[in-house]
Amino acid sequence: MATTFGETPFIRKKRRDEAIVRVVLGLMALAMVVPLLLIVGYLVERAWPLLSLDFVFTNPTHGMREGGVWSALLGTLYLVSVSLLIAAPVGVLAAVYLNEYAKKSWLTRIINLAVVNLAGVPSIVHALFGLGAFVLFAGMGRSILAASLTLAIMTLPVIIASTKEALAAVPLSFREACWNVGATRWQTIRGIVLPNSISGILTGVILQVSRAAGETAPIMFTGAVFFKRIEEGNPFAYSLSDQCMALSMHLFTITTQVTDAPKALPYATAVVLLGSVLLVNACAILLRLRLRARKKW
């Protein structure tokens, strides 16, 4: 047939469609970058007069109208790291159980259902739960520990879900091969499953850092205060039973409560919050790249 390799209208249409789709999809992908750049650019531009290392490492002064964000930044670091120290091991191990050990039964169905629903609970409800369970019932009072536990409860279901997904991405045939040579489930998990899902697991865990750092509601009733003066430059200035300031809450306060604060102050605070979160995310990306370079199939 003469037309086999010729230019038919259909082939021209296919080529045109392909070009259109490529451009449209590319624009959509590009559209993701624009808001981020705009947000960061706008914040930095507004915050510029105040941005300095001093701003990061000094306490707020004069009714939070001057000074820096040191006590709030350190508080956020405490809250995020303590909550992750609790949520990450519990969440990862629970997900390993659910994905690797649990048989299909009404109990596992209930657990899975609970995880999904817990992930959908609004943060203000978590806050009330934390207030009732940790602050009042467990007698922790308003403290970093109580607030961190509340944040941990909030991040747990998401960590469980992302960890399960990472584990499920390891092919079943690997597990079967291990079981066939007489390895126990745990030997299989330790030797094959975890090493090959660790990058996905870590990604899921670290993504929760930004969430824990950004939430205001759960810590408002459980451990965060409007103002607290701590020793500047000392990273151990808080203890677990202290109340603390937090960047997210501080931002809320200076925008709504302190009406005559300098215009740049909230923006500078936001830049510090965003910067610390992006820093953690950047570390996560680097770590993931390193682990993925070792990906083995």
Binding site: N180, V181, G182, G191, K296
Partner: protein, 265 residues
């Protein structure tokens, strides 16, 4: 139809069989996969299982090393004995699985180095001595006819090998726990005929030391290797007997004749 002129089955060897399966039934969530089968496998023999897809061949192998317990919804009844001992009553299922080597249809290179792939099972059993481990790995890779191709790159990834090499790696791994029984589930599905023949030669040699259960879709492979063959169909035994008889012009069942001669329909 049973022809009256079928020769009587030859006298079976006197020593007790290595594997005895009695009235084995298996279902997956109510769906029957194996419908009450009984057979014996002799020691140091190659026992072939042929049959179309869904006939229960792979499920049967999973019952032998009790990995069927790990399949959700699987329910098994009947008994399997190895050396006269009921596998369900063995104190350690992990020891059972070490005694029964298993090679899956598609090669599975674990995401580890070639060396670690083979050393996985010994290590899982608490084997630590480095020199002995190295010697064992070499021996298994030699037995699986892979040593010469990989001896210079034992520490590269097993998953990067070609399909045929990965299949031999899988066999080396199955040999690494020194099994008494070696089960191969359609091992030649992913490899070329030349490699297949090399592995078949290996199997003939291994037969001296172990009992081999060979599930295969290549009926000629069963003919080449096995002294007894079982034809499974839809979870039932159509015919089980000396390979010569099944592949003769007058097997017990017409179905067998049609299947092995490729005139199915």
């Amino acid at each position: 139809m049973l022809a009256p002129s079928v020769p009587p089955p030859p006298v079976r060897p006197r020593h007790p069989p290595k594997i005895q399966v009695r009235d084995l039934r298996l279902s997956y969530g109510g769906q029957e996969a194996i419908r009450g089968i009984s057979f014996d496998v002799d020691r140091n023999d190659v026992f072939a299982i042929i049959g179309p897809a869904q006939s229960g061949k792979s499920s049967l192998l999973k019952c032998l090393n009790r990995t069927i317990e790990l399949v959700p919804g699987a329910k098994q009844s009947g008994t399997i004995t190895i050396d006269g001992l009921n596998v369900d009553e063995l104190p350690s299922v992990y020891n059972l699985r070490r005694r029964v080597g298993m090679v899956a249809p598609l090669p599975v290179g674990l995401p580890l180095s070639i060396f670690d792939n083979v050393a996985f099972a010994p290590r899982a059993a608490g084997f630590k001595d480095k020199h002995e481990l190295a010697a064992l790995v070499e021996q298994c890779l030699r037995q699986a006819a892979l040593w010469d191709e990989v001896k210079d790159r034992l520490h590269t990834l097993g998953t990067k090998l070609s399909g045929g090499q990965q299949q031999r790696l899988t066999i080396a791994r199955a040999l690494s726990h020194e099994p008494e029984i070696l089960c191969l589930d359609e091992f030649s599905i992913a490899i070329d005929p030349v490699t297949t023949m090399r592995i078949e030669d290996v199997l003939k040699e291994l037969k001296q030391r172990m009992t081999i259960v060979l599930v295969t879709n290549l009926v000629q492979q069963a003919r080449r290797l096995a002294s007894r063959t079982m034809f499974l169909w839809n979870g039932e035994i159509v015919e089980e007997g000396p390979t010569d008889v099944l592949f003769s012009d007058e097997p017990q069942s017409r179905k067998t004749y049609d299947y092995v001669n490729g005139i199915f329909g």
